[in-house]
């Protein structure tokens, strides 16, 4: 049976962070309730998908943990009625420190959620404040401990480098503090100042390029010391604890996104649900009316995506799988680009795979851009 991943978008949070450009914002309980109802309607209205097997589910946001535990359980229950779940399906929810309690964690466990991703970002109060986060490091420690007590044995901690005013030292300290808690997984992203966010209009004291590069390489070294391997540009995990849902994106496993503004890749089609809440609430019983930006991917698009997404993984692009999918070898299509970047020491090619070197990762966009094809 074909694998299928599910993404559930919860567009609510307690307070919007200053760097955040995701579809999310604070809302009252009634709005959250109306949305949850609509989301359940969307799921119930989907054509039954029994020909695929659900291997992962991911509740993202926003802050999915702002919903009462029962509601999340209801959503998951509905999904299970609609789809066939693998016995070992990875079911993750994002959570913000301070938004979980014993009861909610218990409900989550019972409903089948088996992985929590905590948006912690930093262990320093000033950095958290500057980001506009609502929690402290102590709040995080408490939530983390509660999750462990409740039996969660697969936890991710999200951290952020390249913050305004951040020093190499404080970043290293945050890494150590997080790793000492022995989570199974650590995501370490560098901050991007996105247009339209409050950060974009602020005069930020961002670390310079060399410092940022140093932060990046120290991340790998420090986390390696605790047993974490970097399996993707910004993701680190203990052996066997890589996030399967995330890897699915990079190897182009089909996924269905449910909820406001959620994207899907199904067959050779990519589409995104409407980002207009009113419209979503009105039409969620007709999922086909929600779909926007419908893109029919051609072979060329699929090849390009396979390359630039696959390059995010440390293991790189599986050459055999590529050939099996597209009927041509990577080299047949990309020989000049491969050679150019192998010569520059930014790419490496082995019998099995093509992947970015450490230097290549630092300038990954420049390299990835060259894998876009003029024609095919």
């Amino acid at each position: 049976m074909k694998e299928l991943e599910l993404y559930i978008h919860i567009p609510f949070c307690i307070q919007k962070c200053r760097y955040c450009d995701f579809l999310s914002g604070p809302a009252d309980d009634a709005s959250k309730y109306r949305y949850t109802k609509a989301l359940i309607r969307e799921i119930e209205s989907l054509p039954e998908g029994r020909e695929s097997i659900i291997t992962t589910v991911f509740f993202g946001g926003g802050t999915p943990s702002v919903l009462p535990g029962e509601w999340t359980a209801r959503i998951l229950e509905t999904l299970k009625k609609r789809f066939s779940f693998a016995a070992d399906a990875e079911i993750t929810t994002e959570a913000n420190p301070g938004t979980v309690d014993k009861e909610k964690l218990r409900i989550w466990r019972e409903s089948g959620i088996n992985r929590i991703s905590f948006g912690c970002q930093s262990s320093f109060h000033e950095e958290l404040q500057m980001l506009g986060r609502i929690h402290t490091w102590e709040d995080f420690l408490e939530s983390y401990a509660l999750a462990r007590e409740s039996g969660f044995d697969n936890i991710n901690i999200d951290l952020m480098s390249g913050l305004p005013g951040q020093k190499l030292k404080t970043w290293e300290t945050t890494l150590h503090r997080a790793a000492e808690l022995k989570p199974e997984h650590i995501s370490a992203y560098s901050l991007i100042v996105e247009e339209g966010t409050p950060f974009a209009s602020m005069n930020l004291d961002l670390p310079d390029e060399d410092t940022e590069r140093m932060m990046y390489s120290r991340t790998r070294e420090i986390l390696a010391g605790y047993g974490y391997g970097r399996y993707e540009i910004s993701n680190y995990a203990l052996q066997g604890r890589e996030c399967r849902h995330n890897i699915g994106y990079w190897i182009r496993t089909p996924y269905i996104g449910l909820g406001l503004g959620a994207s899907s890749l199904f067959g050779s089609t990519r589409f995104t649900n409407t980002a207009d809440m009113k419209e979503y609430l009105r039409n969620s019983a007709h999922p086909d009316r929600l779909r926007r930006n419908i893109e029919h991917l051609e072979k060329k698009d699929e090849i390009e995506e396979t390359m630039f997404l696959g390059l995010r993984l440390a293991r790189g692009i599986d050459k055999r799988r590529f050939e099996k999918t597209f009927g041509k070898t990577v080299r047949e299509i990309y020989a000049p680009v491969l050679d150019k970047y192998i010569d520059l020491g930014l790419l490496k090619e082995t019998e099995e795979a093509v992947f970015l070197t450490e230097d290549g990762i630092s300038v990954s966009n420049a390299v990835m851009a060259e894998f876009l094809l003029d024609s095919y």
Partner: protein, 604 residues
Amino acid sequence: MATINQKNIRNFCIIAHIDHGKSTLADRIIQQTGLLTEREMQAQVLDNMDLERERGITIKAQTVRTVYRAKDGEEYIFNLIDTPGHVDFNYEVSRSLAACDGAILVVDAAQGIEAQTLANVYLALDHDLDVLPVINKIDLPSAEPERVISEIEDVIGIEAQDAPQISAKTGLNVDQVLEQIVERIPSPVGDPKAPLKALIFDSIYDAYKGVIVFCRLREGTVKKGTRIRMMATGAVEEVVEVGYFGAGQFIPCDELSAGMVGYITASIKTISDTRVGDTITDADHPCDEPLPGYKKVNPMVYYGLYPADRAKYQDLRDAPHQLQLNDASLFYEPETSVALGFGFRCGFLGLLHLEIIQERLEREYGLDLITTAPSVIYKVHKTNGEIIDLTNPTNLPDPSEIDYMEEPMVKAEIMVTTEFIGQIMDLCQERRGQYQGMEYMETTRALLKYHLPLNEIIYDFFDALKSRSRGYASFDYEMLGYERSDLVKLDILVNKEEVDALSFIVFAGSAYERGRKMCEKLKEEIPRQLFEIPIQAAVGSKIIARETVRAMRKDVLAKCYGGDISRKKKLLEKQKEGKKRMRQVGNVEIPQKAFMSVLKLDDK
């Protein structure tokens, strides 16, 4: 059309400095003589080349015939020949003037006389034209008509007490101008029975009619069927149609005779047969000698023009030919550059001419262009006695074969308010100017005279002049001849590879300074790439300046959700698209802008 009495014809032009309101007054005259309604004004007269309107300049001579009922009750035919208003087109201006019997001199009531005003007035007086001064823009708060009147009288030496004080914009007192045209501009003379003698003052190419020749008949008559001969080029053709100029259209008539201004078509295929300034005569009954003053205009400034996207060469290929149909002064020939691929070396009358052609290519042909460093024509005297006209620095012979080199000089006149004299003299000094003298126009303004090497003014002299005088200086020049000079070729090396399109000839004494500035500028323009890029300036094998573009060390490692994949792809596409607009030289991508940066090096 009934026979026209010569005494009821007025052939005149309007001369002015840029922005003093020449075209506005022309429009007003056309409108007030009732040729067009207000609505047609919008649709027709003003609907010239976009470029002309945007820049507020006239590129091609515009000619229009209109009929004015004067206060004496008679109807007069006005042939208004609107001349190009820029020094680059000086020769065209002189030919247009030669087609007139009088000139209206428009002077801005706030700004007074400018360098170009003077140049044009002298040109008009050289042609024995009666000059009718008009003070424009008197509705401006800063207008000082009295001062300007005395300036005209003092500086130019023509009577200006009766000059109409007008606002071409609002139409105020334009009627006075019309009456004065009748009263003060002489009617043409000439014998309609004499052998044909007509001056070509412009020509355009029309896809249907072929070349349309604009001419002023001095003697004789021309009509359909007349076999005409261009006396300088020797081309002979039979006339297909004659006519006069409506507003934006050609109106055929039976014949044109002495004193009249009109057009001739004769299925002439190429505009180079109908050179501005040439004399048309009757091939069967020729006149004894051509009108004086014909000369073939030669380009003064040469550039390489290349498509920004190498693949677009085919599109560029036909364009200069099309433009040349309408512009005999444009020169072009195919050229190849290592850095830029296939393109053209084009010759222009001057910087404005270049900019106009470049903009027209970009707009009318949708081409994105790269230009190389501009070059004048150097005379290279080789040790073997051979003399080469060098238009492309890349073709400079090996220094061991060069005896000496000469460069073209111009005689420049700069009008400036006295407070900026120091700054402008400094500028001329830096540009190797030889001071020739200074005349005070009045207590606040002076005319500076310099001899300057042409290659010092083709880059950014005009911009520098404006910026150092806060816009108050104006400038005019004419060719002077060649002078021996100590010149070297400055090469630019990017990542150790010479970029031929960036090479230029420079005065040896300025080589270091120019090389340094070039490197600095290129460092700003060339984006960081995946490796370090040295940028060097060299004279021969000697490196005289160096900058380094640091390697890109890190780009953003974006968080990327499943849903962001389209967005991520767009980002990568943008990045790739950006690369397309760059030229690959060796391993380095050089943006189009960098090639242009050599044009603007004055940093004061």
